[in-house]
Structure formats: structure tokens, C-alpha cells
């Protein structure tokens, strides 16, 4: 449709307004302007000089796109939430509105540049997720981390930090990070290490093997407050220290 064909539709008792389809009307706005109105938005405005304005009014919906595609020579679609339009082989990106000049030229942002911008935005959004995924997989595969305790503690992403800890070795990390001793009993120590600027804590039970003398660190949930409760959680018992007779 163009200004001429639109004006031919407005005659007789429908000379000001004619229904085109659901919630969509062809309306004469002025002697030089005819608009296609969807609800309260003029999605297309035909000018007598051949210029056409398309507008979504912020309503980038399927219906808006359908009405523009149905009643105008321009084709519109959206990619990743951004509106694109093409006419006579020319592609543009637009936000809210665009214009086709009387000589058939689309005015708007270059589509290729906009696509590149969108891709960069997506990459930027996915970067932390990909990074976390990389470290979690590395931790699961048991691959080593060559950094230092300080670099782990300075890591801002909580998931990456925990994964790095696992790669570094929880035992080694706990011993080197100088944790706070919360409770000590019967040769066991309940240790606490604040992470996330103190918002979250990691607790672990430190014990030494009576046979080899090797020190073991066993992580326990952060709600456990003393050695007996940590031991009971660790071995799924009710009174570990009271019932144990022999340990090696």
C-alpha cells in the first residue's frame, strides 16, 4: 500500500476512517497524511509526497510487525529484541520508528553494525557464565590450579572461586589461607574461612591421622558450630566422640 492506494480506500462514508482488520484502521490524519492505526498507534503513515513513516510506538509485538508487513512495502522483523527493516535490498536497524523517503531510501542505523553490537552484548553477557563453566569443569576433572591463595581469595565470582579452591586442593588451601579456629576438641579443629567479603563462610574439620601423622581437612556445612556436631555430621552418627574406642 502507498498513499495513493490508501486514499482510494477512503471514500463515501468511510472517507475518514476504514477498518482494515482486527483493531486496525486506515485513518486520514490530514489532507497529506493517511495512517494505519493499530489500537492507538499509527504504525504506518503515508505522506502524499511518497514518504512513509513506520513506527512501533514501543510495542514491538508480533501484531505490530504483521500490520506493517501487511500494509507497507517495507518488511520488518526483530532479532534479539531489536527491530530491523528492509526495503529494496537495503537493511536498517531501528528503535521505535523509521522512515522511507520519497526516493525509496530507508533511514536508520546500519543493520550489520547493529548486529555486531548485539553480538558483542551477548558475548559480554555470556562471558561470566562461560568463565564459571570453564572453572567448574576444570574442578570436576580434577585439573590443577597454578595460582596462589591470595588470587583465589581475590576472585570476585563465587562459583569460580570455589572451583579454583577445589583445583588448588581444599586441604592445601585451608592450611595456607590461615583460617580462624572456631572450636577445638580431642585433637580436632573446626576451622572457618570467610569468603564473599564475609557474607559466606566455609567450614572444615581439621584432623591428623594417628598412624601417618598426615593432616586431613574435611569440609562441613557452615551451620555446624563445634567439633562434636561436625564429627557427627561427617560420619552420620549421634555421639561420635562418646562412642569411639579405637581410631587410626
Amino acid at each position: 500500500m502507498n498513499y495513493l492506494t490508501a486514499s482510494l480506500k477512503l471514500f463515501g462514508r468511510c472517507k475518514v476512517q476504514r477498518k482494515l482488520c482486527n483493531n486496525t484502521y486506515l485513518i486520514r490524519r490530514s489532507p497529506e497524511e493517511i495512517a494505519v492505526r493499530l489500537h492507538s498507534t499509527d504504525v504506518i503513515t503515508f505522506h502524499s509526497d511518497g514518504q512513509i513513516d513506520i513506527a512501533t510506538g514501543g510495542w514491538d509485538t508480533v501484531t505490530t510487525k504483521d500490520r506493517i508487513n501487511s500494509y507497507c512495502a517495507v518488511r520488518v522483523w526483530s532479532e534479539h529484541g531489536c527491530m530491523f527493516a528492509s526495503h529494496n535490498g537495503q537493511e536498517i536497524a531501528f528503535s521505535g520508528s523509521a522512515r522511507i523517503t520519497s526516493d525509496g531510501k530507508l533511514i536508520g542505523k546500519d543493520a550489520a553494525a547493529k548486529r555486531k553490537e548485539i553480538q558483542e552484548e551477548i558475548n559480554e553477557r555470556n562471558r561470566p557464565r562461560n568463565r564459571a563453566r570453564y572453572w567448574v569443569n576444570k574442578a570436576r576433572d580434577g585439573r590443577p590450579y597454578k595460582g596462589t591463595v591470595e588470587s583465589i581469595l581475590q576472585e570476585s565470582n563465587a562459583t569460580v572461586r570455589l572451583a579454583k579452591m577445589r583445583c588448588y586442593g581444599i586441604d592445601r588451601f585451608f592450611i595456607e589461607a590461615k583460617p580462624k579456629i572456631i572450636h577445638e576438641q580431642a585433637g580436632y579443629q573446626l576451622l572457618e574461612l570467610p569468603i564473599d567479603a564475609g557474607l559466606r563462610k566455609i567450614r572444615a574439620l581439621k584432623m591428623a591421622c594417628s598412624t601417618t601423622g598426615a593432616v586431613y581437612i574435611n569440609t562441613v556445612p557452615e551451620h555446624l558450630r563445634d567439633v562434636p556436631s561436625a564429627l557427627d555430621w561427617m560420619f552420620d552418627t549421634r555421639d561420635y566422640l562418646g562412642s569411639i574406642s579405637q581410631q587410626t
Binding site: 567448574v136 591421622c209 569440609t219 562441613v220 561427617m234 562412642s243 569411639i244 574406642s245 579405637q246 587410626t248
Partner: protein, 106 residues
């Protein structure tokens, strides 16, 4: 009858005994396999006790009238009381990365 621990394995006596399923019986006498190191917690003498490892739940050790020693490559040997059934508990740890509990891999 007291609880006995060998490394990451805890033997808790069951005073009332338990019904053990013969299909869970393990002929090799291995109570806990070392997934990471390859070290095993196993019976020193195969005939002195029976090991039952069901697919779900805790392993059980039914000790004969002469008692039995449990050996491990790293830890000192422990001796289980005669004519007693022991429930085996494996040490667990909290995985902060997954926010979940998991059994210690020896």
C-alpha cells in the same frame, strides 16, 4: 562394644544384629574401595568375617567367633570384636561448589 574408625571408614556395632541379604555378600572381603588412591579397607583373613555391600545403604560386616582385623595400606590395622555385626559408615564432606554432601573419595 564400641565404635571403631579406620581413616574415612567408621564401624558401628549393631547390638541387635540385622538381616543380611546373601546376594550382597562380597567374596573378596573389601569393605571400601579406594577410588582415588586404589587403597582398600579389607578383611585381613577372608574366613573370619563376611562383608555385605548392598547397592543402596551402608555396608555391613558380620564378624565370626574369632574376631577379625581390618587392614589398609595407609592406616594402622583395627580389630573388630568377635560375633558382632558392624554397620559401616563412610565419612562425608560438604561440597560448597555444588552445595551438596558427598562421600569422601579415598
Amino acid at each position: 562394644m564400641k565404635t571403631i574408625r579406620q581413616g574415612d571408614v567408621l564401624f558401628i556395632p549393631e547390638p541387635n544384629g540385622v538381616n543380611l541379604d546373601v546376594k550382597d555378600w562380597k567374596a573378596n572381603g573389601v569393605i571400601q574401595e579406594g577410588e582415588a588412591t586404589g587403597h582398600h579397607h579389607k578383611l585381613a583373613v577372608l574366613d573370619a568375617a563376611e562383608v555385605f555391600r548392598p547397592q543402596w545403604g551402608n555396608a555391613m560386616v558380620r564378624v565370626g567367633p574369632n574376631g577379625v582385623s581390618i587392614v589398609h595400606e595407609e592406616h594402622a590395622t583395627v580389630t573388630l570384636d568377635p560375633s558382632t555385626t558392624y554397620r559401616v559408615h563412610i565419612a562425608r564432606e560438604y561440597d560448597y561448589l555444588r552445595d551438596a554432601m558427598r562421600f569422601v573419595r579415598d
